[in-house]
Symmetry: C2
Subunit: 366 residues, 2 copies
């Protein structure tokens, strides 16, 4: 048995007073209308969110007029979205469900933007401190420059201009990134993803449709802070492990990936991920970003606009990333369509890279 | 491939200032020590809780020294515990994990004790209002008496006295129940389960050990308020559907069940569940409780002490219920051991019965 993406729904990422329920429903209704889904066939609903509202899965199911078998709310900080997709994958393979609606949703002011737990790792509540440590180490060890870092943001903001659902729809220059407000040396405002409201939905199924996109690899790892970052600031260990697992399950290697969503919570993350996901050797991420920027690399990265361009509503990001890969593999990505995509990858992580998920999808037609 | 219970851990349900982390760790450490579990073999961790603390699964994993593949926090109100077990079942069948630790934990003051959503069903924030509607309907339609209702509490408090982990360890008489403080006519204090702190853990695996207890049936249903309770106050619709599904999957019927945990959030629930889970025909629950009380019925019910005797820490109850069935089927239930149990059932529900889970387990040895 296999698992396929069947439908998706999106909302414009924004910052306003919409309730968490309105956000979630907007994206689910977009999915149902866009793909003319028969609601009676939906037998599972998973809400990926850091919201503390209880019983959201069943409440949203009732609001949508769905009476599912499985209804759960799942939280795993910034990687909640991909965790929910892996969760749904399991339900579909176990035979308990046939069609699962996954809704990722969060508000800009969620408690999960910061992590009190980080205090026990050196009093760094905001994740920017951790990203700054990564950036300093990379610059020191591999001569990665401020321009290299800035180029990630410039690229992703450029892509975001082609994505009507992205929070940001204006380009920025390298100079603008380098002159933006200092947050934690060496990271500036434009190196940081932006907390906002957002929701996105995806429907997974075990029946292929006319344009099947299939999940062929899954890797996941939760390593804990002590071995993720302190011993080796040069790597995101959980991402290396998750990618290796996912490639192995999919029987592919990084060279075969045409398009990837990488968790660019901060610009330095994308540079490290080029390396840790196996696209370039360790230390060459700062050079590789120029190839990616010019679209000369085989792998195209963060064509959706990334977290840097789209904004980062915690529980929604992993779903939006997965939807982007599905849209690209189905040739439904409009202005930002990349030609000849066969294999796509989603990388989504949490809490300074202490947890990572990798999902590999394949175009299973044409 | 099958799914088996491998180990369990318990804590005394209580009401104090222990943090949610301490509670969770106490039960997980009890599990690891009691069954001499090799922590390196645990590749999944699921936290069942209504706590709003972000990233709890990975934080608790790190505190325990576990580096799992899968780490999720799951919330589905009062049925979170059984939902987490069904979640783990899926991961084990999908092949993504081999040994999953599930920790159910909550504090007495969790937001999930009430449901704001209930306001849209007639301004009843507290679930006692719903239980009172159920009780009034049952008394009116089937002549169920105050004594019948009280007997559920008397029975479950009696069992709780044999359970060192239960919140309550004193018996109550029918008169005491009937004289306890009125909450919502006709329900009194002793008809209501008690919010408290608690945690319990279970380890599920796909490798049988020397005393294998196997999951053979799963049923689940989330129906929404509009069809759960308003049209027919005589039945808990989601429980009927979930039980039917679980029996079908297990290829058994209610007559074959030796021991059952039923979600007695209120005494009336247990009486209705005798009927809705198929142990006695509709309307006869008030008569059947006497057979159950005298242990003359084939099925023994809530030998742990139920929610009425043990207390109800929201995310932990479903795990504790499942642990009770595992203990009974493994003949490890001490003073409250029921003889010759072969097949056990867990019934756990949420929010006035708008969601129900049923899990059927079988003793797979001896």
């Amino acid at each position: 048995m296999s698992v396929y993406a069947k439908a998706y729904g999106l909302t414009k990422f924004r910052k306003n007073d919409d309730s968490i329920y309105k956000l979630a429903l907007d994206s689910a209704i977009d999915l149902i209308k866009r793909f003319k889904i028969n609601k009676d066939e939906i037998d599972g609903i998973i809400i990926s969110t850091s919201s503390s509202e209880p019983y959201m899965a069943s409440i949203i199911a009732e609001m949508l007029g769905i009476k599912p078998k499985i209804a759960n709310k799942l939280e795993q900080m910034c990687s909640s979205g991909s965790s929910a997709i892996i969760d749904a994958y399991s339900y579909l393979l176990s035979g308990l469900c046939k069609n699962i609606l996954i809704i990722g949703v969060d508000k800009y002011d969620t408690k999960a933007n910061q992590l009190e737990w980080d205090a026990n790792r050196g009093d760094f509540k905001h994740p920017a401190h951790w990203a700054a440590l990564f950036a300093k180490a990379h610059m020191r060890e591999y001569n990665t420059s401020e321009d290299d870092l800035a180029l990630v943001t410039v690229k992703n903001r450029r892509y975001a201009c082609k994505n009507e659902y992205a929070y940001f729809n204006n380009e920025v220059s390298i100079e603008e990134v380098k002159n933006s407000r200092l947050i934690v040396e060496p990271l500036r405002l434009y190196h940081c993803s932006y907390p906002c409201n957002g929701a996105s939905s995806i429907l997974l199924t075990n029946e292929p449709d006319e344009k099947p996109v299939k999940i062929i690899g899954i890797g996941a790892k939760s390593v804990g802070a002590s071995i993720a970052s302190i011993d080796d600031l040069r790597s995101i260990t959980s991402s290396r492990v998750a990618a290796r697992e996912a490639y192995s399950m999919a029987s592919i290697d990084a060279k075969m990936v045409d398009i990837a969503e990488m968790h660019d919570a901060f610009s330095i993350c994308e540079i490290m991920l080029y390396e840790d996901l196996g696209f370039v050797e360790k230390g060459k991420g700062g050079v590789f970003v120029r190839e990616v920027f010019d679209e000369k690399s085989k792998v195209k990265v963060n064509t959706r606009g990334g977290l840097l361009g789209c904004g980062h509503p915690v529980g929604a990001s992993g779903i939006s990333q997965t939807v982007e890969i599905v849209m690209q593999l189905r040739e439904e990505a409009g202005m930002r369509q990349i030609k000849d995509c066969k294999i796509g990858m989603v990388h989504n992580m949490s809490a300074a890279g202490t947890t990572s998920n990798v999902i590999i999808m394949e175009k299973d037609y044409g």
